[in-house]
């Protein structure tokens, strides 16, 4: 077995171990699933090089690493989606070569893949029992048994979703729960979950944890990927950290701390997550009065140059719609928006709002933020067509300038501006969206869940960036579902409840409990 | 059904159909029959289909199902209307036809068409005359198999040309696939052949004028001296022949006016007293059209006007 790649640049405090020999912690037992010295490259990029993972039956094993560390790729290798370039996969002590997902599933290895959840055009019940799980006899499907079984699996997660709805008709949260239910329905012996909680909220996360713990107690080996480290420490037994496609360390969760994990992941001491607040000016950049939308009701507020305004609330409380209306992506039914000192025409669409200086970084990166098949360069150019052109002609030089600046300023990790965005890690994709919008030099930057699915290191970068923008006089309005983030990054926090603003708090002296009560619409807490 | 009750209270009901309404002759025929129907006092149902038998046949059959005294087929090959023939037989309604097959067929009470052998003779003879004999001459034959008339005259012409000692360019009949793109297909066939074999053609025999015009264009664009013959006597072909500058030197007039008149007369005879024609097939003689007589010929697409 080869030594995994260099840990030299990492903090000296950390010890590096070879995986197979490694799991120094606890008694070395037979592993349910092992990946040994796996390597995989795409188009010259080494996604994996000396990756190791070894999971025991009856444990929840966290797989950690910053964006692009290779977690998802490793998962795809061990479940037969990708054939590895080198290395072996071992299931119950036997070397296996899965020819595809189906083969892996049959061997009891099942994954819930990142960013891929449901099939929108078929029913909820079918989504839960997709593939081999579909109850059938002699090729005939039993719809009755399918509904029964789907109901059971959803109930286990405390979800009461009508089974005959099309999955596409569900809210994003419900969709995620359906895909979780599908993974749970497989009675897997090795269950791998790649960021299942990225778009879930607390209630669902609780339900999920209950089920995962009981599965663990039944002897299932669980691999759990998340960027929410608090979760990891609450749920997991052991953890493996990857960096740059290589195994860095595997240890018991009880033997490590969040700070230590962070610095191992990032390869250096990350410093504090949230930068210091700046000064907010008196100059109102955007103000909204009595805005009505489909979900948004009677929202009025204004924000200032240099201010970071956080917006919180429960799922479906109308935060995204509010931002979409502000960005011109959706029309309000009534109410006015004023940018600077000019009222925006009621039917203004995205181009006009961008012209007025309002830019949106949307919630769903892959379907709203970037063209996955297009290059970084083209994605950035996309939002800047008016500014890089004269008389209808696009200037390649001007595109190059903004692309170069964007990639440098945001430290986008790619081997070339000509790399398709679909090949980048989630964090880098998010930076492309940011770069694209920042090139428009917006006066008001709207960000919807700016750090969803992004590693701590990159999160810190994004917070710093937000602060930098604010310091430059930009107003940042950011929606987030994570209360600590809301408090940490904002100057002021608005909480929405059922489409209305239910509370407004100065972030500097906000606490989570208060915000939470506003989230539930209890405006009278104080 | 049965014989004509034209004089009774009910008008004489005729179902007419043509699959070729996109051809000029088909279009003429439709108008002609509609006009004549008025004169003859027919209750006419005219069904037109763009060579789409799946659509046309059921329409005709459904009309048959609703009763008629006679069926009038214009330019639709017997091969494509088997189901109509069956339906007509079942309802005991006679079918009178213009140009619906190249040989006698008991599907019809009468089918009158032009004499394919005559067309082949006339055109091949004209080529021979113009070239001063066929021995050793290179002649391309362009046909179109789906059309039985063209198919037949093309193979007759090929045989005659061979017999007279001509070489068939490309070794066999060149086949145009679609009537819609006949002109461009023939144009490409000739241009490409002439590039591959410069001066390789003395004549091009083409089964119908539209493609013949494409072939002629190919010949003149390639700077070849070859001559071209067609068939149909379309006004465009006649104009080309008369101009004297086109490689198209001859076409053949098929006497559609007379043919149609003959068939309509047979129908009116049947309408009057139920008499059916004594023989059910006739192939009438055609006229070769060259520069000499082109001016006096009524173009096939200006029939009736």
């Amino acid at each position: 077995m080869t030594e995994p790649a260099e840990p030299t640049s990492s903090s000296p405090a950390l010890t590096t171990t070879t995986a197979a020999a490694a799991p120094a912690a606890a008694a070395p037992g037979p592993f349910a699933l092992e990946a040994r010295d796996v390597s995989k490259h795409f188009d010259g990029v080494h996604a994996l090089q000396g990756a190791h993972l070894a999971v025991r039956p009856g444990e929840i094993h966290a797989l950690l690493g910053e964006n692009g560390a290779g977690k998802s790729t490793l998962i795809k290798v061990v479940t037969g989606v990708y054939a590895p370039d080198g290395g072996t996969v071992v299931r119950d002590g036997e070397e296996v070569q899965f020819t595809g997902v189906r083969a892996a599933n049959r061997a009891g290895v099942v994954a819930l893949y990142q960013e891929l959840s449901i099939i929108p055009s078929i029913s909820v019940a079918e989504n839960v029992l997709l593939g081999e799980q579909m109850p059938s006899r002699g090729g005939l499907v039993s719809w009755r048994r399918m509904r029964q079984r789907a109901r059971v699996h959803l109930q286990r997660l405390n979800q009461r979703i009508p089974l005959d709805l099309l999955a596409g008709e569900l809210s994003p949260v419900q969709q995620t729960m359906v895909s979780v239910a599908r993974a749970l329905a497989t009675d897997a012996k090795v269950l791998i979950l790649d960021e299942p909680t990225a778009s879930l909220t607390d209630t669902e996360i609780r339900e999920l944890f209950v089920v995962l713990r009981s599965l663990r107690d039944e002897g299932v080996a669980i691999v759990y990927v998340s960027h929410r480290l608090e979760e990891v420490f609450e749920l997991c037994d052991r953890l493996t950290i990857m960096r740059n496609g290589s195994h860095i360390t595997t240890k018991d969760v009880s033997a490590s701390t969040i700070d230590e994990v962070i610095s191992t992941m990032v390869g250096r001491d990350p410093g504090s997550l949230y930068p210091d607040r700046g000064t907010v000016t008196d100059q109102v950049t955007i103000s909204v009065s009595e805005l009505q939308g489909r979900r948004v009701k009677d929202v009025s507020f204004s924000a200032h140059a240099g201010e970071v305004l956080g917006i919180g609330g429960l799922a479906g409380s109308g935060r995204s719609e509010l931002l979409r209306i502000l960005a011109g992506a959706q029309q309000q039914t009534s109410g006015t928006i004023t940018v600077g000192d000019r009222a925006v025409p009621a039917r203004a669409a995205v181009p006009q709002m961008l012209e007025a200086g309002v830019a949106l970084v949307p919630e769903e990166r892959r379907s709203q933020g970037v063209v996955l098949g297009a290059t970084i360069r083209d994605n950035i150019a996309l939002a800047n067509i008016p500014t890089v052109s004269t008389g209808g002609l696009v200037s390649g030089a001007r595109i190059s300038t903004i692309v170069e600046r964007g990639m440098r300023d945001l430290q986008i990790k790619a081997h070339s501006p000509r790399q398709p965005v679909g090949e980048l890690s989630g964090g880098n994709q998010q930076k492309v969206v940011l770069a694209k919008m920042l090139a428009r030099r917006p006066k008001v930057l709207l960000m919807d869940e700016p750090t969803r699915g992004i590693d701590v290191g990159t999160k810190a970068e994004i917070y710093r960036l937000i602060r930098q923008l604010a310091a430059g006089g930009t107003t940042v309005i950011a929606v987030s579902s994570e209360l600590p983030e809301l408090i940490g990054m904002s100057d002021r926090v608005l909480i929405m409840h059922e489409g209305r603003v239910s509370g407004e708090v100065d972030a500097a002296d906000a606490d989570e409990e208060v915000l939470l009560s506003y989230c539930y619409g209890k405006a009278d807490v104080r | 059904a049965g014989s004509g009750e034209g004089d009774g209270g009910k008008p004489f009901k005729v179902i007419a159909f043509t699959s070729g309404n996109q051809t000029p002759i088909g279009a003429w025929w439709v108008k002609q029959v509609q006009a004549d129907a008025k004169t003859n006092g027919w209750d006419l149902t005219m069904i037109q289909g763009d060579f789409d038998f799946q659509k046309m046949n059921p329409q005709v059959e459904s009309a048959i199902g609703q009763g008629a005294d006679a069926i009038f087929d214009g330019y639709t090959d017997v091969a494509s209307i088997s189901s109509i023939v069956t339906a007509a037989k079942d309802s005991d309604i006679p079918i009178f036809a213009v140009d619906a097959g190249t040989e006698a067929n008991d599907a019809f009470a009468l089918n009158v068409t032009s004499n394919q052998q005559g067309i082949a003779d006339q055109t091949v003879q004209e080529i021979s005359t113009q070239l001063g004999g066929l021995q050793g001459k290179n002649v391309m034959v362009i046909g179109h198999d789906p059309h039985p008339g063209i198919r037949m005259r093309a193979s007759l012409a090929e045989a005659e040309l061979k017999k007279a000692g001509a070489n068939i360019a490309g070794g066999a009949i060149q086949k145009v696939k679609s009537p819609a793109t006949g002109r461009t297909e023939a144009l490409a066939l000739v241009s490409d052949y002439l590039t591959a074999n410069p001066n390789g053609l003395d004549a091009v025999w083409v089964g119908w004028d539209d493609a013949a015009l494409g072939a002629a264009q190919g010949v003149s664009e390639s700077g070849s001296k070859a001559i071209v013959t067609g068939c149909d006597a379309s006004s465009e072909a006649l104009a080309a022949i008369q101009s004297g500058s086109s490689p198209l030197v001859a076409t053949v007039e098929q006497p559609w006016l007379t043919v149609n008149k003959t068939v309509e007369d047979a129908i009116t005879a049947y309408q009057k007293d139920g008499t059916k024609p004594s023989k059910n097939f006739d192939a009438v003689a055609t006229t070769l059209v060259t520069k000499d007589n082109a001016a006096s010929i009524t173009p096939s697409d200006k029939l009736g006007s």
Partner: protein, 334 residues
């Protein structure tokens, strides 16, 4: 901890929201089918214009007879479109199958041999299309466009460019025979549509097709054998198109290389019309049947009104646009 809590979506959010595909109440659903509405409007219009003819037994039978083979080809197209692909070769396949049957009959083979061989040819073509698309990863559009070209060429070769006819009665009866005064192709079309409907709805294969059509990647990662399923879908389409071709030859009593080539465009139009019928917007058999009915009613009705055939063609296009627009307006007004 980090995440904010939510209302339990299970309780009140069942009416919930909308991602890409809207959801409607039962009442709305009944109304929903703008496409169905379009069909009803067409029927009423023609009935109002010619009450003496349009809804008579003879004419309805006539419409059914006219669309029966289109319906079969449209079933083939539906299956492929459920999987999210296209088959531009369905009509050509049916012509070739018909031509093969015709050629064998002309060569004196028995009806059984001719039919079996023709259907086998359809199946083989479907298999080849499937291999090209599922295993060589060609875009279905290019693959079937190309195979269509070759198939038409092959049909020309088989028929030598002519129209073959003079088939034994045992063969033409398949297309022209009647049972209870209804032509055989109508029964066969109904049978094939029912079988296809059942396959799509009740078999694991059918459900895999829908899953793949919904999202290939998710289907693949859920352990569905995407390749095998797509191969199967194209094969089934080829087989069904082959049957359609045999029936067309039997129905017309003739076969030629271009026979029924209109069925391509009309089958696609029918499936598209049908896709507007259901919520998910996926290809579906019920919808296809409605689409076929719209096309049939329209063409028959315009004939009955004696509309000039050029004008008919103009009107046909306009009606298709009107029907689809109607249904999309309905959807939007939700």
């Amino acid at each position: 901890m980090t995440a904010t809590p939510t209302r339990n979506p299970g309780i009140e959010d069942t009416s919930a929201g909308v991602l890409a595909v809207p959801r409607r109440s039962l009442g709305q659903r009944a109304l929903s089918g703008g496409t169905v509405l379009a069909l009803v409007v067409l029927v009423l219009f023609f009935f109002a214009m010619r009450p003496d003819v349009f809804l008579t037994f003879t004419n309805v039978r006539n419409i059914l007879y006219q669309v029966s083979i289109l319906a079969i080809i449209a079933v083939a197209q539906t299956v492929v479109m459920v999987v999210g692909d296209f088959d531009l070769s369905v009509a050509a396949t049916s012509s070739l199958a018909g031509s093969v049957a015709g050629a064998l009959l002309t060569a004196g083979q028995s009806v059984t041999v001719a039919v079996v061989a023709a259907v086998a040819v359809g199946l083989a073509i479907g298999l080849v299309n499937g291999l090209l698309v599922a295993y060589l990863n060609l875009s279905a559009f290019v693959a079937t466009l190309a195979s269509m070209t070759s198939i038409v060429g092959a049909a020309y070769l088989v028929t030598e460019g002519t129209t073959l006819f003079n088939f034994p009665a045992g063969f033409t009866q398949l297309g022209q025979g009647r049972l209870f005064n209804i032509p055989m192709p109508v029964y066969l079309a109904v049978l094939i549509a029912l079988v296809a409907w059942a396959v799509l709805r009740f078999t694991t294969t059918g459900r895999s097709w829908y899953a793949i059509g919904g999202n290939v990647e998710v289907a693949r990662l859920s352990g569905i054998s995407v390749r095998r399923s797509r191969l199967l879908a194209f094969t089934v389409a080829g087989l069904v198109a082959g049957i359609g071709g045999v029936l067309l030859a039997a129905r017309l009593g003739s076969s030629s290389a271009v026979q029924g080539s209109d069925n391509l465009m009309f089958s696609v139009a029918a499936v598209f019309l049908g896709m507007t019928v259901i919520r998910s917007g996926a290809a579906n058999l019920g919808g296809t049947v409605i689409g076929v009915a719209i096309i049939g009613v329209m063409s028959n009705g315009l004939n009955i009104l004696g509309v000039n055939s050029y004008v008919q063609q103009v009107v046909t296009g306009i009606i298709i646009i009107a029907a689809v627009t109607l249904s999309s307006l309905k959807t939007r007004s939700r």
